[in-house]
Amino acid sequence: MIKQKHYYKKIVITVLFTLIIFVFLFPIYWNIVTAFKNPCEILAYPPKLIPSEWTIYQFNKLLTASNGVFLQFFVNTLIITVSTIFLVLIITIPCSFALAKLPFKGSKIVFILILLIFMVPFQCLLVPLYTLLTKIHLYNTKLGLILIYATFFMPFSIFMLRNAFLQLPQSLFESAILDGANMWKIMTNLYLPLSIPSIVSCIIYLFIETWNDFILSFMFSSSNYVRNIQVGIMNFGKQRFSSDWGIINSGTLIAIIPTIVLFIILQKYYIQGMVSGAVKE
């Protein structure tokens, strides 16, 4: 009897969990099916939960609209995102290493300044950043956006990597010095290979933040050669009198696929990074 009761409970929980997952992920499902429906079915009444035929008509239309401008947005975003990741890693790895292992006069101040970026969101600095970018002729350039992303997304990476370096035993550092290795070598050949998980977390964090940014790209770019994919979707969304929901849904789907795939593949690192980014452990 008890066993049977337990069995029922298990079934109820499974059904309940499935239901929760279904309701929770329904918006994404609805986005996917709308993107693959044919144009008549999108506006059909009653709405069809499963398309009668799966078609890439909407994607064709999206990618060929205005001389393939959507592809341009996609490529822009990819270039900007990858460059930001590279730039941040190149500058924050040595910095985190120095903050963890090579304390110098004023290293506390450097750390506090980096902490300050966390406290002052870039949303407060839109106006001075705009005037700065125009002054140095980087308004409406990919480089301008990359530099701003790098500045405001690097604190996370510094916290992550500094912690990773601090957690490695001090004896490792001392023995390397006794062997006569220089600091750069110690960092690249010894500490970096031991901190791969943290670096992966940084890369995922940077990818998702940069790829998903809207406001900076929206404010600091004015041409289709710079705008990112998020602003690109909005261009399609607000272009016509009546929105073309097929195109919007297919554009949205293209924009969310890279981050969702990355998240699902490297879930562990992502969550670990997110958590330690918010709470220092």
């Binding site: 918006p27 090579l102 290293s107 839109l126 969550i271």
Partner: protein
């Protein structure tokens, strides 16, 4: 001895970027807020005039209250489900792992994407929400969800809560997992009910993490922008216009850079106060 030079050399690129794109703009926004900045012509110092003008501005108080109302709606919408799911998914097994992942997936998508996804669901003529409610006999005609003030505020909050709930849940889960199981075992031996255990043991022990998740979602709601641009554009009647949208309007539509800088500084002070708690709770510094 040589090490001391190395340290600062290693930090140099970071420091250059930091001073150019962070320190300089930060100082500049403070200076600009005391200036009469018109796009052409040289800026003049005008003391606190920008601030006085801001505090006398009816629109400023409108966007402030919009932002605060939004914060008050969205925070419980994120927080209560996050706490609920964190508690029921605390045990690590396969079923829980699948549900956790599913609840976290929306965190990976952008606010622009989630806003469009919800716009399509909420569409007044073709939206599936209206269809479902109509079939259930709850409504007689399609509701324009984003067309009236309060329903727009709730629906924007719903879409954001859907997108960000997973993050708070993961944070709370991290806090829960740090509670030693021996405490639960002891309370079980003492015969306390699940309800009692939750309120007398779990909640107090996980309080710092809860506060952190709370502060993060409050700060996030103050910084909200994308969702408002996409879902309502600030309407109806500017009742969903957040502070950031106002700052950018004053700067880039009215060309009043000084005024916009003053609003930015006020906003910055509010956010600094909020993130002061974040850092205190997160304990970043050793």
């Amino acid at each position: 001895m040589k090490n001391k030079n190395h340290g600062i050399l290693f930090c140099l690129p970071t420091l250059i970027l930091l001073s150019m794109f962070f320190i300089y703009p930060l100082i500049n926004v403070l200076i600009m807020s005391f200036q009469n900045w018109i796009v052409l012509g040289t800026p003049q110092f005008i003391g606190f005039k920008n601030y006085i003008k801001t505090f006398q501005d009816k629109e400023f108080w409108q966007v402030m209250s919009n932002t605060i109302i939004y914060c008050l709606i969205v925070t419980p919408m994120i927080f209560i489900p996050a706490l609920f799911f964190a508690v029921i998914l605390k045990k690590t097994n396969k079923k829980n792992a699948i549900l956790r992942t599913s609840l976290f997936i929306p965190c990976a998508i952008s606010l622009v994407a989630s806003s469009y996804i919800w716009n399509w669901i909420l569409n007044d003529t073709y939206g599936i929400l209206n269809f479902v409610l109509f079939k259930l006999g709850l409504i007689n005609e399609g509701i324009n969800w984003l067309g009236t003030t309060w329903s727009a505020r709730f629906m924007i909050s719903l879409s954001v809560a859907w997108k960000t709930m997973g993050f708070s849940m993961i944070l709370i889960l991290a806090g829960l997992s740090s509670i030693a199981t021996s405490i639960y075992e002891a309370s079980e031996i003492d015969g306390s009910s699940k309800f009692r255990t939750f309120f007398s043991i779990t909640l107090p022990l996980v309080k710092p993490t809860l506060m952190l998740a709370l502060v993060l979602s409050i700060a996030g709601s103050f910084k909200g922008y994308d969702q408002f641009v996409i879902m309502t554009g600030g309407g109806p009647m500017r009742t969903t216009e957040p502070i950031i949208m106002y700052i950018s309007k004053v700067a880039f539509d009215h060309y009043e850079m000084g005024q916009s800088a003053a609003i930015s500084v006020i906003f910055l002070i509010i956010l600094m106060l909020i993130s002061y708690y974040q850092i205190k709770l997160g304990d970043y510094n050793d």
